[in-house]
């Protein structure tokens, strides 16, 4: 059995002892002493133990990983024993690595070289090679000739390297493998990397030591297993820097209900201005790109001239150069304030930020910590942050989040398991390098933590797809590998294999931007008014009104990569523009909020007691507690407060009948529950049902809804089977299928020297989707798209848990009839419908519409 074990920090002396005199001297001319992180990590790495180092940001992690390794290399270099091979690989998900590397690697190396020369010590050169997507051909050729001793790379480039014979030779005796920012790899990119690492191990003569570096993340044991794979030991160094978090919560004005008014908007910017004024550099996180632009715009509007040249934005749709420019200005201290969506959460050192403002909820404790950790990035500064909330749900949510942050209750991350699209790409990559024995190949794959339970069936299903079996008589056209069932061997097919693999590998789906073009009124026809991203487009239905660049538009239809709209509409906005970018509320945090609701509910009778309780429980001030009290009081008076033990279901009527479920479990769980219940409702009446989902609940709306029957129907059935049917006709499944099809190389982004646009990929995948469904409803890549929707996009496991709570009576159902939506449900309803669960098939719909139509025509003729 592999052991996962927590370790304590070593003593400074112990670490000092292992350092070569030269390295020791260098270190102590630069630093007073080892950092706590170094005391935890350096000696264990020196002792060649696999280790996961988890420390809050600003914990000198990178140098921790490198110090022991540099020490080893310097010793070899001094003895003239350095070989021409790669000793260590440093892998980071960030492409813009050069700054970190020069600080943590190139700097120290050249300083030690100078020191060695001073002492007239002869030392071989220690070479560092950088290999990312941006590395030029000549640099690559240089590396191929002379191996760098330390190779700095990304997950994608590492996979490419594994198919190049020359570099593979240089890697065969690799000794250290560093995975930085492992907390940012709990996704398909990480799954992909885990297989790449196993492939690397399968060619290694010695087992390289794996070193994982992570910010605060939970559960550490899982991340450790993910790092080392199956059957290997791993140490965990949980570095608890005694950093005190300074965090508070506030909203503009005195009444949170009024924050939507114009006056209060002014208050918001006054409030932000004051924060900026009181600090040297302020970083504001907004969650969405649109909000980022808005903040900058209004700060300038309310304080003319004040912020010119002192404010910057940083978000993912900006060009690399623009972002780099902002990062540089930050490091130089030229900016007073930077507004970012999510892009500044990760990695790269951004200089001295002294406060982080969290505008709207960051939706998870670890994300909130990561964000405020950007302030006080230097070792001994305390991170400082402030929540600025703008509505009542956010107030409660951020209040509870703040409590968890202060009490260090970190919510946990999940890593996708058995992803078949990533598997397909890796099997192809493996087949390119040699002819494999099938069992050996499966063995290598199963050593990855993400595939340890991969079934033989799934494995051979993917092999079948790659071998072209699904195309039946035309297998030769489509096959990427061959599989000899008698000899039990697998190999590549086609001369182009390596090129196809190298130009198409990777797991990050390409998202397209859609131009918004005005179709009416006539005088504006043809104007392009801006761009929206594809995932937002996906949410739009004909007739929806949305905001872009401060103006309202009504959506008509799309054509290729263009969306046609009507400008100058007076209607109410039906889809908020941040919809698609919305981060889902973490399940554990959602449950914490449920518990908090319950505790408040118990004490609601005495206003004083409740307010005191809230203040103490959430570590907040009077104003916050009073507003939370008001919100709860209203809900209790109107309907009932839902909590961790009570699922309140409200029935009310607007133009249709509504069932609103106050299920505070986060939108991933609610998405699964809503679709299952809507499917049940649809099945019972054989009609389509509309749904709306947010983190705090969901509604279904239609005709003749019977909550009792609906709940019982779902309770008695397998959620997975219901969802499989319920998502079958959704756009989201089609879009995810496109991503999976690209990952599994069914659609090649780049082929015969030509790149396909996202629009073309989308169109092609539409055909492909139709074709694949005709081939087999259980086609592995289609199954993977379903898995991704159910497990990654939704959270079927926790949804199942909620259903179990209902089944066993631990979660009681409280049915309420209300004249209209209750206070707790208001945000959900305002946000509008989000999808339709289709029950009626196309042919039946056509017939019914025809009958309806005949009636209309008939009545007119009378």
């Amino acid at each position: 059995m592999a052991k996962i074990e927590y370790v304590e920090a070593n003593k400074s002396e112990e670490v000092k002892e292992i350092l070569n005199p030269l390295v020791r001297e260098w270190f102590f001319t630069k630093f007073k002493d080892f950092s706590l992180t170094q005391l935890y990590g350096v000696k264990n790495i020196h002792d060649r133990k696999n280790i996961l180092v988890s420390a809050p940001t600003g914990g000198t992690k990178t140098l921790t990983a490198f110090l022991g390794i540099l020490n080893y290399l310097v010793e070899l270099a001094l003895k003239n024993e350095l070989e021409d091979k790669i000793y260590a690989v440093y892998n980071s998900p960030l492409k813009a690595l050069s700054n970190d590397i020069s600080v943590n690697l190139l700097g120290p190396l050249s300083e030690m070289r100078v020191l060695a020369e001073k002492k007239q010590l002869k030392m071989q050169e220690i070479r560092v090679g950088l290999r990312t997507g941006d590395t030029t051909m000549s640099e690559r050729a240089k590396m191929a000739k002379k191996a760098p001793h330390i190779l700095v790379t990304t997950p994608e480039s590492l996979a490419i390297i594994l198919t190049t014979t020359k570099t593979v030779d240089q890697l065969k005796a690799l000794e250290f493998m560093i995975i930085d920012e492992i907390h940012a790899l709990t996704n398909k990119r990480g799954v992909y990397l885990s297989l790449t690492l196993e492939r690397l191990h399968s060619i290694s003569l010695i087992e390289p030591v794996r070193i994982g570096l992570s910010a605060t993340i939970s559960p550490l044991e899982e991340i450790a297993k993910f790092l080392v794979g199956v059957g290997r030991d791993c140490l965990i160094a949980e570095v608890k820097l005694l950093k005190k978090i300074e965090i508070s919560i506030d909203f503009p004005g005195n009444e949170i209900l009024e924050t939507e008014t114009g006056e209060s908007q002014k208050e918001l910017y006054k409030m932000l201005d004051k924060i900026i004024e009181n600090h040297k550099t302020t970083l504001i996180f907004t969650n969405t790109r649109a909000a980022t632009e808005r903040i900058v715009h209004y700060l300038d509007l309310h304080f003319p001239g004040k912020y010119v040249g002192a404010i910057g934005t940083h978000h993912s749709s900006m060009s690399k150069d623009q972002r780099f420019d902002i990062e540089n200005k930050l490091r130089k201290g030229e900016l007073r304030v930077v507004v970012s969506s999510t892009s500044l959460e990760l990695g790269i050192d951004i200089g001295s930020i002294d406060i982080v403002v969290l505008l709207r909820s960051p939706k998870s404790v670890s994300r909130a910590l990561q964000r405020i950790g950007r302030a006080g990035h230097k070792l001994h500064d305390n991170p400082k942050g402030e929540f600025v909330v703008l509505d009542r749900d956010d107030l409660v949510e951020c209040g509870v989040m703040m409590k968890s942050m202060i009490e260090k209750k970190i919510d946990s991350a999940e890593i996708p398991k058995n992803a078949l699209d990533v598997l397909a790409q890796q099997i192809y990559g493996m087949a390119i390098t040699k002819i494999w024995d099938v069992d050996e190949m499966l063995g290598v794959i199963r050593r990855s933590y993400c595939y340890k339970n991969l079934s033989k069936n799934d494995f051979f299903d993917v092999v079948s797809y790659l071998a072209g079996d699904y195309a039946l008589e035309h297998r030769y056209v489509y096959a990427k590998i061959w599989y000899d069932a008698e000899k039990k061997q697998i190999g590549k097919k086609g001369k182009m294999a390596r090129v196809i693999y190298m130009t198409n590998l990777g797991t990050i789906p390409e998202e397209g931007f859609i131009s918004v073009v005005v179709q009416g009124p006539v005088e504006k026809r043809g104007q392009t008014v801006g761009k929206i991203d594809e995932s937002f487009l996906e949410k739009l239905k004909r007739g929806d009104v949305f905001v872009l660049g401060g103006n309202k538009y009504q959506f008509l239809y799309t054509r290729g990569m263009k969306a046609y709209v009507v400008a100058d509409v007076a209607k109410r906005v039906t889809i908020p523009s941040w919809f698609s970018e919305m981060l889902p509320l973490n399940f554990e945090l959602a449950c914490e909020i449920g518990r908090f609701r319950g505790l408040v509910k118990e004490k609601l009778k005495s206003k004083e007691k409740v307010i005191d309780f809230i203040k103490e429980y959430l570590y907040c001030k009077d104003k916050i507690a009073e507003n939370i009290y008001d919100y709860f009081k209203e809900q209790a008076g109107f309907s009932e407060i839902p909590d961790d033990k009570t699922l309140v279901i409200e029935r009310f009527k607007e133009e249709k009948e509504y069932l609103l479920f106050h299920s505070l479990y986060g939108r991933r769980v609610n998405d699964a529950l809503a679709r299952a219940f809507a499917f049940a409702a649809g099945r019972l009446k054989n009609r389509d049902v509309e749904i709306g989902i947010n983190d705090n609940g969901f509604f279904i709306s239609g005709e003749g809804l019977d909550e009792e029957k609906i709940i019982n129907w779902v309770k008695g059935k397998d959620l997975r089977d219901i969802l499989k049917e319920a998502i079958e006709k959704t756009e989201i499944l089609k879009r995810r299928f496109r991503h999976c099809a690209a990952r599994s190389l069914m659609i090649l982004r780049s082929y015969k020297g030509r790149e396909k646009s996202v629009g073309k990929q989308q169109m092609h995948s539409g055909f492909l989707y139709v074709a694949v469904k005709k081939l087999s409803n259980e086609f592995p890549i289609l199954r993977e798209a379903r898995r991704e929707v159910m497990e990654d996009l939704m959270d079927i496991d926790n949804a199942e848990k909620v259903l179990n709570l209902i089944r066993t009576g631990k979660l009681k159902i409280a049915k309420k009839r209300t004249p209209l939506v209750s206070p707790f449900g208001l945000n959900l309803l305002m946000q509008g419908r989000s999808d339709l669960v289709k029950m009626e098939d196309r042919a039946a719909f056509l017939k019914r519409m025809h009958e309806l139509h005949l009636k209309v025509i008939g009545e007119k003729n009378k």
Binding site: H474, L556, L748, G766, A771
Partner: protein, 246 residues
């Protein structure tokens, strides 16, 4: 003259009893084109087509001619042996359902530059008569692909135009539900009756004239055209004028 809508196809019985089956744009070989550009897609269209035609011939029996309204093949740039064979066997299959002395007429479309090669190959190996023309006029009906105008179509004895090229389809809406169906568009233009035939191509329904130009060579008043939606099992539903459809 009798006109019958048979699923995606049009069936015309002339005054003299001559039976004509009309088939819209087929875009055969689309899958191969995708495959050549790096999209793994099986070859399903051909088999599906044969299945569909079987149903059609059960419904209407043998015919005297089959008019293909152009864009039969998506492109012939690098068509492989297999693709050629598919088309040849489609023609063979057609002749099994065409009376003696009957023929296939193809009105050339914008995608059909290389079609002549296939037709020649077929002529070499088979007795069946295939005509490849820009437009075809018989019994008061003018058939053409639809991307190009031609004076002859305005001849007085021509009463009806039958056109392809446009891929017409219409969206039906109820609340937030939207579904699109292939359709025939039937109307009038300068005293001629017009029938626009939906594409036979399987993977997409087509374009809604309320949202997109259909690319035909004439400015038709589609709002006043009748819409006939194609359902399953060769059913076709009359929905009246397009402008009345919500």
């Amino acid at each position: 003259m009798k006109i019958k809508y048979v699923g995606k196809c049009l069936f015309i019985t002339g005054d003299g009893g001559r039976k004509t089956l009309v088939v819209g744009d087929m875009h055969l070989g689309y899958e191969e084109m995708l495959n050549r550009s790096g999209v793994f897609i099986g070859r399903l269209m051909f088999k599906e087509h044969i299945k569909y035609f079987k149903k059609v011939f059960i419904e209407i029996g043998k015919v005297d001619e089959i008019v293909l309204l152009g864009d039969v093949k998506h492109d012939f740039g690098k068509a492989g042996e297999q693709e050629w064979n598919n088309i040849l066997s489609l023609f063979d299959y057609f002749f099994e359902n065409i009376n003696k002395k009957g023929k296939i007429v193809i009105t050339r479309g914008n995608h059909d530059n290389f079609l002549i090669n296939v037709v020649n190959k077929f002529r070499r190996k088979s007795e069946g008569e295939i005509e490849l023309v820009d437009f075809y006029i018989l019994g008061g009906v003018a058939y053409t692909h639809g991307n190009k105008n031609n004076k002859r179509m305005f001849d007085r004895d021509v009463k009806l135009w039958v056109l392809g090229h446009a891929h017409p389809a219409v969206k039906l809406k109820e609340g937030i539900k939207i579904e699109k169906y292939k359709c025939f568009l039937v109307g009038k233009y300068k005293s001629k009756k017009i029938i626009v035939v939906p594409s036979f191509f399987d993977y997409v329904e087509g374009s809604d004239p309320r949202e997109n130009g259909l690319g035909l060579a004439w400015e038709f008043d589609y709002a006043n055209f009748d819409v006939k939606l194609v359902g399953e099992n060769l059913e076709v539903f009359d929905f009246g004028k397009l402008k009345k459809l919500k």
